[in-house]
Amino acid sequence: MMQSTTNVSQPQTDLSEEFALKLQGVTKSYAGTPPVHALSDVSVSVRHGEFVGIVGASGSGKSTLLHVIGTLTRPTSGSVFINGMNTDGMSDGALSGLRSRDVGFVFQEFFLISGLSAVQNVANGLLYSGVQEADRLRRSEIMLERVGLGHRLNHLPNEMSGGEQQRVAVARALVHEPSFVLADEPTGNLDSRSTESMMELFYSLNEEGTTIIIITHDREVAERFPRQVVLKDGKIESDSGLV
């Protein structure tokens, strides 16, 4: 099950490789009486290098959309393309491989592993992609420098502030150079000053070419995003990126 292939050239099955992410008519329903339609007929595309905010109140289907985009759950119908690759019918193992290469998650609760230092936590972002340990640590150090935590390499999570912890989490999401960073309320647990510097970090990363998708309920934060997709009752209400 552990392939030793070194051919990492991205295979393409879709012509729309300019898209980091493409959702086509995605519906997600949960069985029950009556069945719950968390998402209905959602279609949205994100180009490489874009900065997109997906905005919605709680219950709008945000979390489900996050999980569908991140391939953590499969849509009931419709298709999800990541970096031009159709995820339909992929096995659990293949989806895991896809996540280890193409998706960089940032969570509201950071989810750093408490017994590991900052650099080890970041290196976990490369753990499942077959990179040697020395290489993982080297690349993680570079990434921590890039998010401004070069002086915190060997600190444990509980020795750092919330803002610093979230920067470690961002470094972890970036270290394997994913097709896009998928951030779920990344500033939800931060004070206003840390929120400000976290958003600046996202903007500067985006300027350097990173595709960023932020899911938030906070319209005020989202207002400054170059593109906003508003989600309501499982449907896309508006998309400022559509021409």
């Binding site: 999980h67 096995s91 193992g93 491989g97 976990n124 499942y128």
Partner: protein
């Protein structure tokens, strides 16, 4: 892990985790919860230590017993008068020793006789307070037949046996308070003072002699009015023929009433003791196995809790690209770590207990290799079984469920 649709061309490389990374990842859990890990491994430690030390101690003690048997020989036969029909105790014929000597493979024959009367420190002690000690008259080659040894002084000689001289068994000497013979000591044998000329070391094949004051037959006749009649005859025969000698012994000793002669092999008693000890060994082994099972349940319990507590970590790792298999391996390996650490500590503790106890008992330390490898191996087996359910449960958790924070 079957792949449903999606050939390698359309799905790209699968995620992977080397064995080294699996071990590293699995070690973070126990390392960041040291006390809990140590406590959960303790059960295995106790179980394995019990198994190793029980096996080690029983091997050491039986090795000691075998050494003792080898030293004493298994070719010593004890001939006694048995019960006769109707008339109480029978006795051995007076010419029995001479007849036994005629059996070809026999090379040593020593007779002893119990003599009435008590053994006293002095003539002032009330008659009857013998402290369980008896007077025994014996041949001069008794010590050779028993392969016994002298602790102090000397044994009876042809010169000494005509005079009132006595050699004490080890227990007799202790009860009489005679521990050294640098000054001349005498004891009162009811009718006469006897000079103590020697003290014997314990005789494992004839414990009765340890509680005896041993005198020569001529002295017994002269000073204690004793008439010769052998009670017990110790016979050494060449080892390969000892069973043949035993089979003809009764008829040789008393051709008229062979059924009144009892023949036993002294080493059989020691072997019976060894068998009795092994029964205890089995009991303790059983207890060790129970402790091991309880230890395994402890690890399973800790692992189930770990999976619940670390739900978010499982979700995170799935998001970072871990497959179900990677998650299962992480928790299974963690369980192996706990049990292997416990097992290793248990083996070490078991060796320690065995060495200390064997040294106290003056035994050679013998720990069978199957105890060491079996002990460690069974701890790994227990770890695998204990980790199986928790790891499968961790692997089957859906990523979205695992990432939920409340």
């Amino acid at each position: 892990m079957g792949r449903k649709g999606g050939s390698p061309e359309t799905s790209g490389p699968r995620s992977q985790l080397s064995i080294g990374d699996t071990l590293r990842t699995a070690s973070t859990g126990p390392r960041s919860r040291k006390l809990r890990s140590a406590l959960s491994a303790l059960g295995i430690t106790i179980g394995i230590a019990a198994l190793v030390s029980v096996l080690g101690l029983s091997s050491s003690s039986s090795a000691d017993l075998i050494r003792e048997l080898d030293a004493l020989g298994t070719n010593l036969l004890t001939v006694e008068a048995g019960q006769s029909f109707g008339s109480g105790n029978s006795s051995l014929p007076v010419d029995a020793p001479a007849r036994i000597r005629r059996i070809d493979p026999v090379y040593e024959v020593a007779a002893v006789s119990k003599i009435g009367g008590g053994v006293y420190r002095s003539d002032l002690i009330e008659e009857g307070r013998t402290q369980g000690l008896t007077i025994i008259a014996a041949d001069l080659n008794l010590l050779d037949a028993q392969q016994g040894s002298i602790s102090q002084g000397q044994y009876l000689t042809s010169a000494l046996q005509d005079f009132p001289t006595v050699v004490l068994g080890s227990v007799a000497a202790e009860r009489l308070g005679i521990t050294e013979l640098t000054t001349a000591r005498s004891i009162w044998l009811g009718e006469e003072w006897f000079v103590v000329v020697g003290i014997l070391n314990p005789l494992p094949l004839a414990a009765d002699l340890d509680r005896a004051a041993i005198i020569g037959y001529p002295a017994a006749a002269q000073y204690l009015d004793y008439e010769y009649e052998p009670d017990i005859i110790y016979v050494r025969a060449h080892a390969e023929h000892v069973l043949d000698v035993r089979s003809v012994m009764s008829a040789t000793v008393n051709p008229e009433k062979p059924e009144e002669v009892e023949v036993s092999r002294a080493s059989d008693v020691l072997e019976a003791r060894a068998a009795a000890e092994s029964a205890f060994t089995n009991l303790f082994l059983g207890l060790g196995v129970v402790a091991l099972l309880v230890g395994g349940i402890g690890i399973a319990n800790v692992m189930v809790i770990a999976v619940i507590e670390r739900r978010n970590e499982i979700g995170l790792r799935r998001a970072l690209g871990a497959t179900r298999f990677h998650i299962a391996m992480q928790f299974l390996t963690e369980s192996f770590f706990l049990s292997a650490a416990g097992g290793f500590a248990g083996v070490m503790l078991g060796i320690g207990v065995t060495v200390v106890y064997a040294m106290l008992q003056d035994w050679a330390v013998v720990i069978p290799s199957y105890a060491l490898f079996g002990g460690f191996g069974s701890s790994l087996l227990i770890g695998g079984l204990a980790g199986l359910y928790p790891s499968l449960r961790a692997a089957s958790m859906s990523p979205t469920e695992a990432l939920r924070t409340r």
